[in-house]
Symmetry: C2
Subunit: 162 residues, 2 copies
Amino acid sequence: MKRKPSLEATAAWIRLMRVQTKVLDAVEQELKKAGFPPLAWYDALLELSRAPAGELRPVELERQMLLPQYSTSRLIERLVDEGLAVRRECKIDKRGQFVEITEAGRELQKKMWGAYSAAIEKHVGSKLSDADATKLCGLLDRLGCSCSEAQSPAIGEGASAR
Amino acid sequence: MKRKPSLEATAAWIRLMRVQTKVLDAVEQELKKAGFPPLAWYDALLELSRAPAGELRPVELERQMLLPQYSTSRLIERLVDEGLAVRRECKIDKRGQFVEITEAGRELQKKMWGAYSAAIEKHVGSKLSDADATKLCGLLDRLGCSCSEAQSPAIGEGASAR
DNA sequence: GATGACTAAATGCATATGCATGTAATAGTC
DNA sequence: GACTATTACATGCATATGCATTTAGTCATC
């Protein structure tokens, strides 16, 4: 009788948890040391900056970032408090609003990308050939039902979720 | 001029973050729905149950679990509050202590493994052949500088970190 | 155009986390 | 054996998170 989660599957699970934690912590630490806010802010700013008029409904941001509703609400609150985004009235739907990235927000996003990309290179890029990175993507996608969304950042910026 | 973190590396980074979050959330949710405490409790109980006399110094547990010191301290506090572990005096080093798993702790760990292993199978095992799981392990280990520690759980129980 | 079901966003409250520091014991040094 | 540095663990306090609920607006149906 076969073991149910095979030893191989269990080992993969453990690695996935441990390695992600380790790499994420390392990257977050580098951003923090460089005096930047958490990665989640970057992700939100990136999503906003990519959006049509630099603005998005909170509910859309929520879906993009895979965050709970209240979490998105508070993230936006912080961005607005820091002048990185502004709330705009939503005429189509009075329940809602638009959140628009400010110039300061765009600048911060670009500056963060410098530190962020260096961290990705250090902790991922430098440890894997492009071919292996692609293999890893393929295997991970099988687990995640694809985090697809037609990824093709023109100038190249990453996202992260969480 | 080559892009620094290659698109492949960036894509791998994104997948790693997203897929891990998704899978971990799914597994944690299943444990919670089954009325069990968080995964971190399982990990701690497993480490304790595997240790020589079912006991470990907090500082050892901390290293095993890759958790910050204060986090370990509070985790132990909760386990003790729930009667899953007890604190024992450490005669060798009066600053320290030993934490020993109780019978209730061992039972909970075993019961949790039922739900936990099913979740691993559902979210990882069933989506990957053993060969692919092994490939994934190999690639992840390259990023994590191996989460080695001679993993070979006799009866098969997973760990997780975080 | 009133009613009930549903969606968008915010928030009160309990718990968890991170950081810095505190306390106590050990180890090394002169 | 006093003095300093270091290690083990706990904890006060500020901030963050999760959950459930609230408020307000939309939509479908009658």
